[in-house]
């Protein structure tokens, strides 16, 4: 078998905001297919910036980011859209169209596979509707398929947005603080869904959390970010209490 190729590569990535604030500082990161990578760090450390750099919701200042060996930093027009469709994203605030049905929201994930004029009339194929329904089955919300999104609970809405990301048939799922506004039970539900997707479908998951226990429980690899810099990168087994404390406070323990 051929050597597996990295699915996400960061090469000397720097991000400086227009007001001079440093978002990311010389990030080097290589993620292999099938990994469940948890990014941890304080609020404002640059976790979200890192996530959003991957699918270029935020542009980076210097450096290069490659998805499946293809540079998203240099991609233009169609090429950029085609790379983006390989990357599903889950947001803290779910980002659903609240007045639309669950099915319509989930179908949105397929947008990258259609010409624009078809979207003008909402012409999704029967095949994609079936695909959306199957994605809803994965998160066990198939009975809500024709319900309006705003009638669901927060946890259910987040699972709809997972289904939306799945419908995209992505190689990668980015989850930007997906559980920050959920209660503990729902959190477990959402995290279990993500783990199942990672293990059964082999989709690479890059997630940021500020809950250390969850990071250690679900992740296969931990990346620690402090003030825009990568301060730790290693398997969960290496991330002991001292390491975590260092990521969060910047002080060596003992």
């Amino acid at each position: 078998m051929a050597e597996p190729k990295p699915v996400i590569e960061f090469e000397h990535v720097n991000k400086i905001y227009s007001n001079g604030v440093v978002g990311l500082k010389d990030i080097e990161l290589t993620i292999m297919p099938g990994e469940f990578v948890v990014v941890v760090g304080l609020s404002g450390a640059g976790k979200s910036t890192l996530m959003r750099a991957v699918n270029r919701l935020h542009d980076i200042s210097t450096g290069d980011i490659r998805i499946d060996g293809e540079s998203i930093t240099k991609a233009r027009g169609k090429q950029l859209l085609h790379i983006r469709r390989k990357i599903g994203m889950i947001f803290q605030n779910f980002n659903l169209v609240k007045r639309a049905t669950v099915l319509k929201n989930v179908l949105t994930g397929r947008v990258g596979y259609y010409p624009t004029w078809k979207m003008l009339f909402g012409l999704f194929s029967a095949e994609d509707k079936q695909r959306a329904y199957e994605a809803l089955q994965t998160v066990e919300l198939e009975d809500k398929v024709y319900t309006r999104a705003d009638q669901l609970s927060g946890g259910q809405q987040q699972r709809v947005s997972i289904a939306r990301a799945l419908t995209q048939s992505p190689r990668i799922i980015l989850a930007d603080e997906p559980i920050a506004s959920l209660d503990p039970q729902t959190t477990k539900r959402v995290m279990d869904d993500l783990r199942r997707i990672n293990q059964e479908l082999g989709i690479t998951v890059l997630i940021n959390l500020h809950n250390v226990e969850l990071a250690l429980e679900y992740g296969t690899r931990i990346v620690g970010i402090r003030a825009g810099e990568k301060v730790f990168d290693g398997p969960v087994a290496d991330a002991d209490a001292a390491t975590m404390a260092q990521i969060y406070t910047g002080q060596e323990e003992g």
Binding site: N55, F94, V97, T108, V111, T116, Q168
Partner: protein, 267 residues
């Protein structure tokens, strides 16, 4: 031990402006009275008032439906048509103006400011003035009324639309971008589904107002129930005025109720 802090007195720095403001208002009121001619009723005022009262309390029921197309029902239908078509046209014209005038992040401030300025300029033209201008352009009749309502409404409707755009949650759009959608697809799949109910609701509200203004546009010759109303007033046929007013009241109330019910369902 810490002492309980007492609530400090509100700063009294603006007292002075307050009194000067009131003094100015009173002065303005006094000054306005100086321009008023001596207050005197015309000699026949009582007689006219009596006949008016008699006419208004004895409306001309026969006028409701005469069958020749020159009756109240037809005039009201025409007014309804003017308001409906005018509002419909203005809703369509308002769309591009709304996106122009909406102040959303990452936009140059002058773009939205110039759009807002144009909308304000449109709003300053009263409908009656617009109707008079359109009568010169397309001749008297309902078409001039439709155009007057249509153009005047843009000023307010586009402003309401642009506010809906400004208050929209941009998250759903972000998710479409993340899934590989282009800008147009973001609008189609995320923005419009969120905005349409709001737009329809605003349009219905504007339609309620348009019904009221379309009722008087006929007075300058722009079609609708205003025309028979001004004729009836000029010929002092108060019983006819009475029935026309009743007709207008019923129509306005019905439209208000209907559109109010629809709007409640939309949101």
């Amino acid at each position: 031990m810490t002492e309980t802090k007492k609530l400090p007195k509100a700063p009294a720095q603006h007292r002075w402006y307050f009194w000067v403001g009131w003094a100015l208002v009173l002065l303005l009121i006094g000054w306005s009275f100086t321009g008023m001619p001596s207050f005197a009723l015309k000699e026949n005022a009582v007689v006219v008032a009596k006949s008016m009262w008699h006419g208004l309390t004895h409306p001309d029921w026969a006028y409701v439906w005469t069958g020749d197309g020159e009756d109240l029902t037809n005039a009201l239908l025409q007014t309804f048509g003017i308001a409906f078509l005018g509002t419909f046209i203005s809703a369509i014209i308002s769309l591009p103006f709304a996106f122009w005038a909406a102040h959303t992040p990452n936009r140059f401030w002058l773009t939205s400011r110039s759009g807002k300025f144009i909308l304000t300029a449109i709003r300053t033209f009263p409908e009656i003035v617009m109707a008079l201008m359109f009568i010169k352009a397309v001749g008297p009749g309902s078409f001039a009324g439709v155009l007057a309502v249509g153009f005047h409404s843009v000023g307010m409707l586009a402003k309401l639309f642009s506010e809906a755009i400004e208050n929209m949650d941009s998250g759903a759009g972000e998710s479409v971008t993340a899934a590989g959608g282009n800008r147009l697809e973001v609008t189609l799949l995320a923005s419009l589904p969120q905005l349409l109910p709001e737009f329809v609701s605003n349009t219905l509200y504007r339609f309620e107002l348009a019904i009221r203004s379309a009722s008087i546009l006929g007075m300058v010759g722009a079609g609708g129930v205003g025309t028979p109303l001004i004729f009836a007033i000029q010929t002092r046929s108060w019983s006819r005025v009475g029935i026309i007013l009743i007709g207008i009241i019923i129509m306005v109330t019905a439209v208000d109720w209907l559109s109010g019910t629809l709007r409640k369902r939309l949101v």
